[in-house]
């Protein structure tokens, strides 16, 4: 059990709401969250539908461990077809709203159609209603959050919303919950806004139960928590420095993508690192980091709560930004910082605040700004397009302006909201876009970490580090150390990480637990909570089934093996310095083996045998 076994279905076109039992046959095959919602979506939409049209659906989904005492058991995902990539979008978020959905009695909320007028969904346990969004449409996420909290006089209401960027059509808009957690990638916020759905506000007081064997569950989750507490990464590194623990590590490895991935080492990395966030400022003696924070049920607590220096040019006359909010994670610090050649931590924190305030993905945003900077320096974009701003690498002023524009979609923000691929095509230099399948890269240069190149090329949602995080093995030695510059064995490694991650996501827990947990730690928690035998092998089989289901949908949506590639820069231009000097990513040495291990044809299609094996 552990599922509530109930699905809320919201038809936005009709303005009608119904509920239905969860398909338990599918839950047995796909567990929950990412896997199960993907099964629902792929059964219900045409792979070739317009991502921003009424035929696309958007699913908010929890897992069987969401809302329980399992550490990090607060995750929820948004599954839909992406307007950025044209394939599946599945964006995972922490914070508190996932637990609230579960406490209100829902495993999943499925949105279909398109509302004729802006609305938001209000859920209070069994009660669910669509309400006119007149008072919050056109507002930022933060404003909408405040207005709804005041309106319902309920400080414990949990809210997920889209900002003005999504309303303006930014293709990488996020859905932000609890002010600074986000289903961030692939434009899930853009889809939500396209449906005239501004927010989802949830209050749940029913409690999460249905634990199959409560005694075994408490025992297994306590054992898991002990492992996290005693592990150097989850027990020390992440709470102290957050994911920013990686900034100096990756830079020293020569795998820090810099200035639109032209280089692999950033000279300013130390200035924007996790360690730098702890250094007292000259102006007020306070560090950037106020405290670490946990999402619901998380015993790691990697979250950053930060302030910007009040004297910094970005906010000196804007007291509304003087308080604390979600600070820099590694991905944001990299994309806004090293990829744009900027070492001004306050400017990065400001841009990060704006990404949260108006809901857009800092990875895609930062990478797109980086591409725009390279286009500017190449003369393809001029001050005519940028409204007079010198859009050069290293310019904190340009970054701050870019964030303000994308927040509202004004001026050059419209172009920047297209994402790197469309921006570079528009200005005649498609090769300058550092994307796979239309989605911007995260913070690991695949010339210095070979397996990540394969993970990016084959990720089911475009370039992404969270679909198969081989950094764990190639950099941190988890669960075993592999040579980051070696290609042998990486196909198997990538596949293993991809399958395990699909299962972890689908349980409703955070992938960061896997710095310490193996499936041996995770499966007993699922097994104690859920009916049926959830052994390690079954969890991994479910993970592999999910991966194949996602791939099959993407193929049907028009993706081909030719899309399983990397930008020329990473395949042809060797790293200029550092441990990976002279290396490109040798994708072609890994990809055929990967297809074979997957049970796919040489052009990346599922074989009949694979299809049969997983019941697809």
């Amino acid at each position: 059990m552990a599922w509530t076994k109930k699905v809320l279905r919201v038809n936005l076109t009709e303005g009608s709401i119904s509920n239905e039992p969860l398909n338990m046959e599918w839950a047995n095959d796909y567990l929950g969250q990412r896997g199960l919602a993907t099964k629902y979506l792929t059964e219900e939409i045409d792979p070739n539908c317009d991502a921003l049209g009424p035929d696309n659906k958007l699913i908010m989904t929890t897992g069987p461990l969401t809302g329980t005492m399992a550490s990090t058991g607060g995750r929820y995902s948004v599954v839909t077809k992406s307007p950025l990539t044209g394939i599946l979008a599945c964006s995972n978020s922490g914070g508190f709203i996932g637990n609230e959905m579960k406490n209100a009695g829902w495993d999943m909320i499925i949105f279909e159609g398109k509302s004729p007028k802006p609305v938001y969904l209000y859920v209070e346990n069994e009660k669910a209603e669509l309400v006119s969004a007149d008072e919050i449409w056109g507002k930022s996420v933060w404003e909408a959050d405040e207005i709804l909290h005041k309106k319902y006089q309920d400080p414990l209401l949990r809210i997920a919303a889209v900002g003005r960027s999504a309303e303006a059509g930014c293709l990488y808009a996020a859905i932000v919950n609890d002010l600074h957690r986000a289903a961030g990638r692939s434009g899930v916020g853009t889809v939500m806004a396209s449906k005239n759905l501004k927010a989802v506000a949830v209050r749940g007081t029913k409690g999460v139960g249905n634990i199959l064997d409560p005694k075994a569950f408490i025992k297994a989750t306590n054992a898991g928590k002990k492992v996290l507490a005693e592990n150097a990464v989850t027990g020390e590194g992440l709470p102290a420095l957050g994911t920013q623990v990686l900034m100096n590590v990756m830079n020293e490895m020569g795998a820090m993508p810099t200035r639109n991935m032209k280089e692999v080492v950033f000279e300013g990395a130390g200035d924007i690192s996790g360690e730098a966030m702890l250094e007292p400022r000259e102006s007020d003696g306070k560090p950037n980091l106020t405290t670490n924070a946990g999402c619901f049920a998380c015993t790691i607590a990697c979250g950053r709560i930060s302030t910007i220096d009040r004297n910094h040019f970005t906010i000196e006359n804007k007291p509304e930004y003087w308080g604390n909010s979600g600070g820099l994670e590694y991905e944001a610090a990299w994309a806004l910082g090293s990829d744009c050649g900027i070492n001004d931590m306050d400017a990065l924190t400001y841009a990060n605040f704006l990404c949260n305030e108006d809901g857009y993905d800092p990875i895609s945003f930062g990478s797109t700004v980086a591409a725009a900077m390279e286009l500017f320096e190449a003369g393809a974009i001029t001050t005519k397009e940028t409204g007079g701003v010198e859009f050069k690498f290293g310019s904190a002023e340009a970054l701050a302006k870019a964030a303000e524009w994308v927040s509202t979609g004004e001026g050059f923000g419209k172009d920047l909201g297209l994402g790197s691929k469309r921006l570079c095509e528009k200005y005649g230099h498609p090769d300058l876009s550092m994307t796979v399948k239309g989605q911007e890269f995260p913070a690991y240069d695949p010339r210095g970490v070979q397996g990540m190149g394969l993970a990016y090329a084959t990720s089911n949602r475009g370039a992404c580090h969270l679909r198969g995080y081989t950094i764990a093995s190639e950099v941190l030695g988890i669960p075993v150390k592999t040579d980051p510059l070696e290609t042998d064995g990486k196909a198997e490694l990538v596949k293993a990480f991809q399958d395990a991650t699909a299962a972890v996501d689908s349980a409703g827990i955070c992938v960061f637990t896997t710095f310490a947990w193996t499936m041996e730690d995770i499966a007993p928690q699922i097994d104690a909570a859920c009916e049926g035998d959830w052994s390690v092998d079954r969890c991994l089989e479910v993970g592999e089934r999910i991966w194949n289901l996602e791939r099959d949908f993407n193929n049907a949506a028009g993706m081909t093996a030719a899309d399983d590639t990397l930008p020329k820069r990473l395949l042809k231009d060797a790293a200029n310095v550092g441990p990976a000097k002279g290396r490109v990513n040798d994708l072609s040495k890994m990809l055929p083996e990967y297809y074979e291990l997957r049970g796919w044809t040489s052009d990346g299609q599922l074989t009949d045998e694979t299809r049969t094996r997983f019941g697809l």
Binding site: L156, T291, G294, G303
Partner: protein
């Protein structure tokens, strides 16, 4: 037997709500923060998380205010406990408590407050950062004294 008190150190709290789940699970059998007797408050602008619950007052306002003597002292733990079958749900104790830590539950129709779980408070066990501990009631300041002593 030595009496113990819950000690809360907000600067250690990360806001994860494991305490709220543990409390509600002990009290109701469900993971339900809405029914937790301990609450964690987030002060977003200040970047602070503060757990708060009953301090088990010696001269307990709630107990004195109760017209039906439904609040009694557990001599072993010092906790002021609600007798659910005696409580008539008049809510006078919720008004009397200066700290707001006694609250009415519309599902059970009686009030609920921290009872120290009979001497094994689950919030303290569940807290991953020791922001909530269960310590010698006569020396709740001991660790702070130790920290200052170390600096002197």
């Amino acid at each position: 037997m030595m009496l113990r008190s819950l000690q809360i150190e907000p600067e250690k709290c990360t806001g994860c709500l494991q305490c709220e789940m543990a409390c509600s699970y002990e009290a109701t059998g469900l993971f339900n923060p809405a029914k937790s007797r301990i609450k964690v408050f987030t002060f977003h602008d200040a970047g602070r998380f503060v757990p708060y619950t009953c301090t088990q007052c010696e001269e307990a306002w709630c107990m004195h205010a109760c017209p039906v003597e439904a609040i009694v002292i557990n001599e072993a733990t010092g906790a002021k406990e609600i007798l659910d079958d005696v409580c008539v749900g008049c809510k006078v104790c919720t008004v009397a408590c200066p700290f707001g830590t006694v609250n009415y539950d519309t599902d059970t129709k009686v009030v609920a407050k921290c009872d120290l779980c009979g001497g094994d408070p689950q919030c303290a066990s569940a807290c991953p950062t020791d922001a909530i501990t269960y310590v010698d009631a006569d020396h709740t300041g001991l660790e702070r004294m130790r920290a200052h002593a170390a600096q002197s």
